[in-house]
């Protein structure tokens, strides 16, 4: 009986550990991690969430790299809760101008964080050679969620009608600045692909 229980506990522990995938510097392409539509090569060790859209160096509450590879027209950036008003996390539209992409990302972040998000330093940029937009953002979590201040950068570009977004954020007091260089490296190495060979499902889009 004890042996069986020990086995169950061990299995649970192993399952818990397998939640995160550690990727060492330059060990492998992370296309496996960020879906087949966006490859990046980090130059530091990062832990990647199994949902393949988030990565971190020190912890998700401290620094987070968020990747949305290939959002299709009419799809939101994040899952929509049934009780949210229609416009809380709006869908991406291919007709969006660059400044509207900033609004789209900002509104989406605001929607799932449920706090005001401010943007600044809106600049034209390229992502893997595709014209896009880059901006900084900031927000403060509500008191019951820790009340921490966060800063972030986001880069968005479209390719063949799909939207690609990479955002990096960290605590304003320390982590944002600490890992900004690593995040910039990730953005600079990003390769967008059309996702050939992958299933064209909403889950894959996430």
């Amino acid at each position: 009986m004890i042996l069986r229980m020990t086995a169950v506990v061990l299995a649970l522990l192993v399952a818990g550990c397998s939640e995160y995938i550690l990727i060492g510097p330059k060990e492998m392409k992370t296309s496996v991690v960020f879906s087949r539509r966006l490859e990046v090569i980090p130059d530091v060790a990062i832990s990647v969430h199994p949902q393949r859209s988030f990565a971190t160096i020190e912890g998700f509450d401290l620094d987070t790299l968020m990747v949305w590879p290939g959002i299709r027209d009419g799809h939101p950036l994040s899952p929509v809760m049934p009780d949210w008003p229609e416009g809380r996390t709006p869908p991406f539209k291919i007709t969006m101008a660059d400044t509207e992409l900033v609004e789209f990302v900002e509104t989406s972040l605001r929607g799932f964080l449920d706090v005001p998000v401010t943007t600044k330093d809106v600049r034209p940029t390229t992502l893997d050679g595709h014209p896009g937009i880059r901006f900084r953002y900031a927000y403060t979590l509500k008191d019951d969620k820790g009340g921490l201040d966060y800063e972030g950068i986001a880069v968005a570009a479209t390719k063949k009608g799909r939207l690609y977004v990479i955002a990096y954020q960290g605590t304003r007091i320390y982590h944002f600045a600490k890992h900004l260089k690593a995040a910039e490296h990730v953005i600079a190495t990003a390769k967008l692909s059309s996702g050939k060979g992958s299933e064209d499902t909403s889950d894959e889009d996430r």
Binding site: T89, P90, K93, E100, E106, P124, A138, D143, G147
Partner: protein, 390 residues
């Protein structure tokens, strides 16, 4: 004839109510005196929790450091409850929700969303007076004691073995939940009654306390939301029905009568510096139906900064990214520019809409006007790219 199940449920309910009733009676205390500092351990503990919250709030970026607006709101509180003026500290919090709160340590939080919803200073005073009512009647500690008392009653049932009687535990838990919520609704009604008297004392028009709710109900109805609760919600809600509150407040206002002198009317002057941000937060809430109804109400009731309100109405239409809304967005921007208070961003947004409508020349003119009016625009490089693209 009564069934055994009904009997055991009744017995459990009676026991729970008996014990919690004692707690409630004991907790009902008169208004706090000015400068009140508690000595009971539980109340001292609660105040320490609020003190810690206040320290965090002071440093939070969501706390807007707006000395003029904060002083104005504090002055309103002092008008209504002068002896307590030194005990009250007001914080303006950036939050688009219609809300204000007051903790028993004197920390009052006023949401920017609430200030946007109010039509005049008397309406703001009505809600601040309501919050002062919670403070004066010590509702925080009374509610905490009520919950603790009812929890103890439930524990008592468990100890005596009564909870093992079929149906007893469930009945007791259900009753405790509804009893706690009913107690909260009782507090809200009491604070409404205290608040309206305070606002009358401060020289405000008491009837505006009812109109706050009337306005909210009207906006919700216009937005297609049902401002009434289901039967179940009536018992589980922490607040009374909005229509019920409105009716009760109209009754109280009739009793108090109108103010002798015109009530103070400084709301617009004091919120103007934040109005753009407040409207922006409302638009970005994503609740377009409420936003459309609210902005329509503001345009009807408040003649100030009409251009800014029309601009945000246009933003709401444009952000939907529907071709059918482009005309509405353009019309709103044109209204905005024909009125006072339209920000330079109106030209940029109009340019985006005109571009989508295929009016490239007009769009370029709008972008150029935007950059001329806002030479230090944060998105200058992007707009210049639009101009280069033609």
């Amino acid at each position: 004839m009564i069934s055994r199940r009904h009997f055991t449920r009744g017995l459990g309910a009676g026991l729970v109510c008996g014990v919690s009733g004692c707690v409630t009676t004991q907790a009902n205390q008169p208004d706090v005196p000015p400068g009140y500092r508690p000595t009971d351990a539980d109340e001292v503990g609660l105040l320490r929790v609020f003190d810690r919250m206040e320290e965090k709030l002071k440093k939070s970026a969501l706390h807007l450091k707006t000395p003029a607006l904060t002083a104005y709101l504090k002055d309103m509180c002092c008008r209504m409850a002068a002896p307590y003026c030194p005990d009250i500290r007001v914080y303006v919090v950036r939050n688009p929700e219609f809300n204000a709160s007051m903790a028993s340590n004197g920390m009052m939080q006023v949401h920017t969303g609430f200030l946007l919803w109010c039509a005049n200073e008397s309406q703001v005073a009505a809600v601040l007076g309501h919050e002062l009512g919670h403070y004066l009647r010590r509702h925080s500690i009374n509610r905490r004691r009520d919950i603790v008392g009812k929890r103890d009653a439930a524990a008592f049932l468990g100890l005596t073995g009564l909870a093992s009687i079929p149906g007893m535990s469930e009945a007791a838990q259900t009753l405790i939940f509804y009893s706690v919520q009913a107690y909260s609704r009782e507090h809200e009604s009491e604070s409404d009654a205290v608040g309206i008297r305070l606002m009358a004392r401060g020289g405000y028009d008491p009837v505006e306390a009812a109109r706050v709710w009337e306005r909210m109900i009207a906006v919700q109805r216009q937005a297609g939301n049902d401002p009434t609760y289901t039967k179940q919600q009536i018992f589980s809600s922490t607040h009374p029905l909005e229509a019920e509150r409105m009716g009760a407040l109209y009754g109280l206002a009739r009793g108090l009568g109108p103010p002798k002198d015109p009530p103070p009317a400084g709301l617009m002057e004091h919120v103007r510096p934040l109005r753009g941000m407040m409207l922006d937060d409302q638009v970005k809430s994503g609740d377009d139906k409420t936003t459309e109804a609210l902005l329509g109400t503001i345009l009807r009731d408040n003649p100030d900064d009409v251009g800014m309100v029309h601009f945000h109405m246009g933003e709401m239409y444009r952000r939907r990214q529907n071709t059918s809304d482009l005309g509405l967005a353009l019309a709103s921007y044109q209204w905005a520019l024909a009125s006072d208070g339209a920000p330079p961003e109106t030209h940029r947004s109009m340019g985006l809409v005109l571009r989508k409508l295929g009016r490239q020349g007009d769009a370029m003119d709008s972008f150029r006007t935007y950059l001329r009016l806002r030479p230090d625009a944060d998105d200058r490089d992007v707009v210049q790219r639009y101009l280069a693209e033609g």
